[in-house]
């Protein structure tokens, strides 16, 4: 079977397609025939050696995958051959809060991932997907969707009527728009492109703010929320944007800190955290239970993950280029 490996992690060109013997399901495992993947910025970081210490060159990349169970090992009752499943990001994090015991079980980072024809995973990490979803749609969920759910629902303690602010139109943000719609929240989204803002609004965003044409965009967020600010901020831009997020947040606001992409030139001023009683929480994706809850919320509100572009398995490097071009809205998917 064909499998990608991260190689020397000097960029997308280090990705290498190799042949490996087909995996067998050990006790507690299931072998999944992967039908689709999606890429996350975190995969770009891994591939460029920016995501903690360098991984072994044979590490299989990508956390996000969906496919069909082809065999199960001893003691597995959770899934059976033929089941259509998606795979949870931390294969050991089932429920409850995050813990250091889950370090190393992140697919495509600490553990072999899903950019492969066949993969063996702990059966406990698998979640059945809705019948009317394609594999491509299901493959969008594990990293970006669950991150948005954790930031908004678990850490953000969202309740109907809250306003959530989404930074940019990447995968996490578009899931944020959909989660907001499912839970009776208002959403405000930012982008450098009016065209993307219009598309986000057509997906259900209540307001859009162009941060390129509007240098003081946090003020526009305040205006869009009657002067109050956002109750929840999904901070996907990174520490360099925190001053803006603090300014756009409402009193008692919850800020989910996702990424470290936009590094701070000067340290963020944390004074507004005190004055506004803000709660800043670091988010590292989420548990399998959160993925199950997310699927249920999307199904109930008749929504499906939003796919921007699909590339073929043989051209997986293209997904990296598309991701880094930042032209997308929603998810970039790889089809097997």
């Amino acid at each position: 079977m064909k499998t990608y490996e991260v190689g020397a992690q000097k960029g997308a060109d280090s990705l290498r397609l190799v042949d490996r013997p087909e995996p067998k399901a050990a006790a507690g495992q299931a072998v999944v025939r992967i039908k689709a993947n999606s890429i996350n910025f975190r995969d770009v970081m891994v591939q460029n050696g920016w995501y903690g210490p360098a991984k072994p060159e044979t590490t299989v990349p990508f956390s996000d995958g969906a496919g069909e169970v082809v065999s199960v090992g001893e003691g597995v009752t959770r899934v059976k051959p033929g089941d259509r499943v998606a795979i949870s990001f931390f294969s050991r994090w089932i429920d409850g809060p995050f813990g250091p015991q889950y370090f190393g079980s992140d697919l495509g980072g600490g553990a072999d991932g899903t950019l492969t024809e066949l993969g063996a995973y702990p059966a406990d990490a698998l979640v059945k997907i809705p019948d009317n979803w394609t594999f491509e749609e299901a493959a969008c969920l594990p990293c970006a969707g669950v991150t948005a759910w954790n930031a908004i629902v678990e850490a953000g303690k969202a309740k109907a009527g809250d306003t959530v602010l989404l930074i940019g139109t990447g995968g996490v943000s578009i899931f944020g728009v959909q989660i907001a719609k499912a839970l009776g929240l208002k959403s405000v989204i930012t982008s450098s492109s009016d065209e993307k803002l219009a598309r986000a609004k057509s997906l259900g965003a209540d307001a859009g703010v162009n941060y390129k044409t509007n240098a003081e965009w946090p003020k526009a967020v305040l205006e869009a929320t009657g002067g109050k600010g956002a109750d929840i901020v999904v901070e996907t831009a990174g520490p360099g944007n925190l001053d803006n997020s603090f300014a756009a947040a409402a009193f008692n606001g919850r800020i989910g800190l996702i990424g470290g992409f936009e590094q701070a030139k000067t340290p963020p001023n944390v004074m507004p955290l005190v004055g506004k009683n803000l709660n800043l929480r670091g988010i590292t994706v989420g548990s399998r239970k959160m993925m199950e809850d997310l699927i249920a919320a999307l199904v109930k509100s008749n929504q499906k993950p939003v796919i921007d572009k699909v590339v073929d398995f043989a051209n997986a490097k293209e997904a990296h280029a598309l991701m880094q071009s930042q032209k997308h809205l929603g998810k970039i998917v790889i089809k097997h």
């Binding site: 800190l257 996702i258 800043l280 929480r281 670091g282 988010i283």
Partner: protein, 337 residues
């Protein structure tokens, strides 16, 4: 009656004692004969014009006070003449989450405070305190103890077995120690002085680190917690210490940022640590009357007494300020009226 006023806020020497007619309550107000008041760090900042805009010169300082109700205005039913009461310094904050409108009715800051023989207080800010507490003890609670409580209970959700770290030995830190111990938590504290750390051990501290002789104190905290770190940090040290606090925190840890911080940190906090360890960092500006009421109940039930460092006479209130500024104290500085 005698009251102290801020004066022109050029320092402690601007404080002045003056005579005023005894106040009468308007509807919804109570007059409290103040028996004790206490100082917080922000009271010093106010005398130096370092706490927001300058206040009117005739503003009565201090947020913390306890006394007897001597008169109530029309419509007041929650307290009556003769009650021994304490006041919540954000007077409109009775319950629920913080609201920015509360800044406008903050005792000793935006409205007249407690350094007076008789204070005019919105009655809904008052509550009766347990007989087990003296006026001096009750007066030490409103800002520092409620801040520690707000941080440990609604925010950090303290439970038995957690480890709590407080930086320095001021009022909030010592109350954090007491609240941690009553909840069955372990307690770690830092100070620049070994004798203060000794006193904290006597009060129940499990882990003590001298940050002067151990500048890498976060490593000492990690070592004392088997490399895991602490579950809760009472970050009173300002932003300059935040990077070390994040390093000393366990996965899923909660860091409460307490006010009186200024400027940007010299060492940029390791935001990667906040993400990777799923740390929650929350700003805390004191708490509600409901939190205060829960705190009073807990102090009463466990027989816990606030730690008072020194008591000054009302006529020498300015000396209490000077003592806070100049001295090495543990816990609270109280003024007896």
């Amino acid at each position: 009656m005698k009251v102290w006023e801020l004066g022109d806020q050029k320092g402690i020497s601007s404080l002045r004692m003056v005579d005023r007619p005894d106040p009468k309550p308007l509807p919804g107000q109570a007059i409290v004969a103040i028996k004790a008041s206490s100082l917080n760090r922000r009271d010093i900042m106010i005398t130096e014009s370092k706490y927001g805009a300058p206040k009117p010169e005739n503003r009565i300082p201090l947020s913390d006070g306890a006394g007897d109700v001597v008169a109530v205005g029309e419509g007041v039913t929650n307290v009556k003449v003769g009650d021994r009461v304490v006041a919540s310094h954000f007077t409109p904050w009775t319950d629920g989450a913080f609201d920015p409108s509360y800044f406008a009715a903050d005792l000793g800051v935006t409205i007249d405070g407690m350094l007076t023989e008789r204070a005019i207080v919105p009655a809904h800010a008052l509550q009766v305190f347990p007989a087990s507490l003296s006026y001096e003890e009750a007066a030490s609670l409103p800002v520092a103890a409620v801040t520690a409580w707000s941080m440990m209970q609604p925010f950090a959700d303290i439970k038995s077995g957690d480890t709590v770290l407080a930086l320095g030995t001021g009022g909030v830190s010592i109350f954090a120690l007491q609240i941690a111990k009553m909840n069955g938590a372990r307690f770690a504290i830092t100070s620049s002085q070994d004798d203060k750390l000794e006193r904290c051990k006597k009060l129940g501290a499990d882990i003590t680190v001298n940050y002067k002789t151990t500048p890498d104190w976060e490593k000492a905290i990690l070592a004392a917690t088997n490399g895991r770190g602490v579950d809760i940090v009472v970050e009173t040290g300002g932003m300059a210490t935040l990077a070390q606090s994040i390093a000393a925190t366990a996965p899923n840890g909660r860091i409460g940022l307490i006010g009186a911080l200024g400027g940007r940190p010299e060492n940029q906090p390791n935001i990667g640590g906040v993400i990777g360890k799923n740390i929650a960092l929350k700003g805390i500006t004191s708490g509600s009357r409901k939190m205060f009421s829960d705190l009073l109940k807990a102090f009463d039930a466990t027989g816990t007494k606030p730690v008072i460092d020194k008591t000054f006479a009302f006529a020498e209130a300015n000396k209490a300020y000077q003592y806070m500024q100049d001295s090495e104290f543990i816990g609270k500085i109280v003024i007896k009226h």
